[in-house]
């Protein structure tokens, strides 16, 4: 498990450049461009189970779903940040990517510390210190448990309209 550490105000243009937004839609097309203008080493080096640790306002800027789709597809276990921009937060909820808002954990991190997550308990451990993060509201939990917004919506439609 590797921890990728970044600063404040990481915007969606850094996570996935705007010039690719109408040419890349599938996870496979998106993957090579992840974090292209922020950290060229990321797309090549990221592995399943890695964690991104970042400062405040992660994912600000354009409404851009591709970085979320890409991060979920490469198997990033969670993004732990001081705070998240709201459209990015919704996008992550809708794709089932775990976001952990915990400024204390980010502040405690030192290079080389392992980061462990227990999403159900709302706990994150950084270098042996444990921090709590607020549990998700029921509405959001339901979407997460269904595997994202589309599976959730389709299950509801099937129930309501019985087709």
């Amino acid at each position: 498990m590797k921890v990728w550490k970044y600063g404040d105000d990481v915007n969606t243009d850094m996570l996935f450049p705007g010039k690719h937004t109408y040419t890349c839609a599938t996870a496979e097309e998106i993957k090579p461009h992840l974090l292209e203008d922020l950290d060229p080493a990321f797309a090549k080096g990221v592995q399943k189970g890695d964690v991104i640790l970042a400062g405040r306002n992660f994912g600000c800027g354009s409404s851009r779903e591709q970085p979320v789709v890409g991060l979920a597809a490469v198997g990033v276990a969670a993004v732990v940040a001081g705070s998240f921009a709201r459209i990015f937060y919704r996008a992550a909820t809708n794709q089932g990517l775990l976001l952990v808002e915990c400024p204390e954990a980010v502040a405690a991190y030192q290079e080389g510390d392992p980061v462990e997550l227990d999403a159900a308990a709302g706990k994150v451990r950084v270098g042996g210190r444990e921090f709590s993060f607020p549990k998700l509201p029921l509405e959001i939990l339901a979407i997460r448990e269904a595997g994202g917004l589309l599976p959730y919506t389709l299950a509801q439609l099937q129930k309501e309209r019985g087709k």
Binding site: P17, G18, Y22, N57, S62, S63, A85, R86, R90, L157
Partner: protein, 421 residues
């Protein structure tokens, strides 16, 4: 209750709501643009099975990469046109009509007291006419096409009291950049920003759009103005009578997370320097900074008064040989009016290059991408690294007057001097 509490309660079919609650709301409209192709691609089978929830809900505007720059984009546009035809959508606007947010406002598809969501972050622009406009993502837009509803957390609110009037050469863009510089890029994250106070009456709807548009650059969920005579006139001009909407505004005793106040007469021309919108400094501190490209336009500052002020500065003069001036009107209506008023002629004669109404180079897809080590002074809303297609270029934001002054001199200049002479 705040405006946000009232507007979201209404869209959820309730009498009241409180900040922090999560509501299931039915937005009046769902805006999508070129990304409609990707959105409907997610639900192709479900659209066959269940159909659209309503023909009235979607507003689709092709604007982000128009005319298409390559085969893939062209195929996407074609798919969107076929979708609009198949479902006989009344609110489909093909390329050339303008930037989605300007089109929504001009066609009065954003009405006071309603909720409009859009798969674009600048959907907050509709707060200019007291509509709770807010950005969502593509997957959520796909679900909305099927169900017509989504969840929204009722945000806390910030109240911004505006007094006084701008000095000559100072504009709405300078005000909103000054605010963002002070509260920071996440100063209004998850919050609804209510603009109020005696100075609002003196702000045109065009100026209010500039301010509301930039709300998301401080993280805001919505950025709203009250409905007054100017807003009613704007809506009447767009063909909407007063009885077609029920405006809402905050109660005098509403609770706010934060209150701010600004005296417009104290605002001066400012720039947002690379690479964040809250990196705001006075123009006077950067006089002479060399500029390679100037962009006048976009959904932030591509309206008639923006072209008018640029034409006032550049009419009968020439764009500096070291700089390229790109002109990007926000809509066909703006373009037509700017042609009629002679502004387009003045700016093209001066050396400007006219682009079709649309998003143009703002997101770095085409029509004016930057080269490494180049600097662009732009009237748009974002100066993020790589935004205009090149991570090694720099973008500086300013008002249309500041952009025009730089086009004249090939470097940052004080717009107040140009307007005084």
């Amino acid at each position: 209750m705040t405006f946000a509490e009232k507007a979201l309660a209404r869209a959820a079919g309730r009498k009241e709501s409180r900040a922090g609650e999560i509501l299931i709301v039915r937005p009046a409209h769902l805006l999508t643009h070129d990304n409609t192709s990707a959105i409907i691609g997610k639900i192709a089978r479900e659209l066959d099975k269940y159909g659209l929830v309503s023909k009235e809900l979607p507003v689709i505007v092709l604007d982000h990469v128009v005319p298409a720059n390559d085969e893939k984009t062209a195929a996407g546009h074609k798919k969107v046109r076929e979708f609009a035809r198949r479902f006989e959508l009344p609110h489909f606007f093909d390329l050339g009509e303008g930037i989605c947010h300007q089109v929504v406002l001009e066609r009065a598809l954003a009405l006071p007291g309603t909720v409009v969501v859009g798969s674009d972050s600048h959907t907050c622009s509709y707060g200019a006419v007291s509509c709770f406009g807010t950005g969502i993502d593509r997957t959520e837009a796909a679900a909305l096409l099927l169900t017509g509803k989504t969840w929204l957390r009722v945000p806390e609110s910030i109240k911004v009291e505006l007094t006084g009037a701008f000095q000559p050469g100072v504009f709405a863009k300078d005000l909103v950049l000054t605010i963002i510089g002070q509260v920071g890029a996440e100063g209004a994250n998850y919050l609804s920003v209510e603009f109020d106070g005696p100075a609002v009456a003196g702000l045109s709807i065009d100026e209010r759009i500039t301010i509301a548009n930039m709300g998301v650059e401080m993280g805001a969920k919505a950025a709203v103005f009250p409905v007054d005579a100017a807003a009613e006139k704007f809506l009447r001009h767009a063909g909407v009578k007063k009885r077609a909407y029920q405006a809402l505004w905050a109660d005098p005793g509403a609770a706010y997370a934060r209150k701010l106040s600004y005296d417009l007469s104290k605002i001066e021309p400012v720039l947002a320097l690379p690479h964040s919108v809250d990196n705001v400094q006075p123009v006077t501190r950067h006089l002479g900074m060399k500029i390679d490209q100037c962009l006048l336009g976009t959904c932030t500052n591509g309206r008639l008064p923006d072209f008018e002020i640029a034409a006032r500065i550049l009419k009968g003069r020439k764009v500096h040989p070291g700089v390229r001036l790109l002109l990007l009107p926000a809509s066909r209506t703006v373009l037509r009016e700017a042609i009629r008023a002679g502004h387009v002629n003045a700016l093209v004669e001066a050396g400007g290059v006219l682009l079709p109404p649309g998003c143009g180079p703002c997101l770095g897809a085409h029509q004016g991408c930057l080269a490494p080590a180049e600097k662009c002074l732009s009237a748009s809303n974002r100066n993020f690294k790589g935004r205009m297609g090149c991570a090694a270029a720099e973008i500086v934001l300013g008002s249309p007057a500041t952009v025009a002054a730089a086009a004249l001199h090939g470097a940052v200049a004080d717009p107040r001097k140009e307007l005084a002479s």
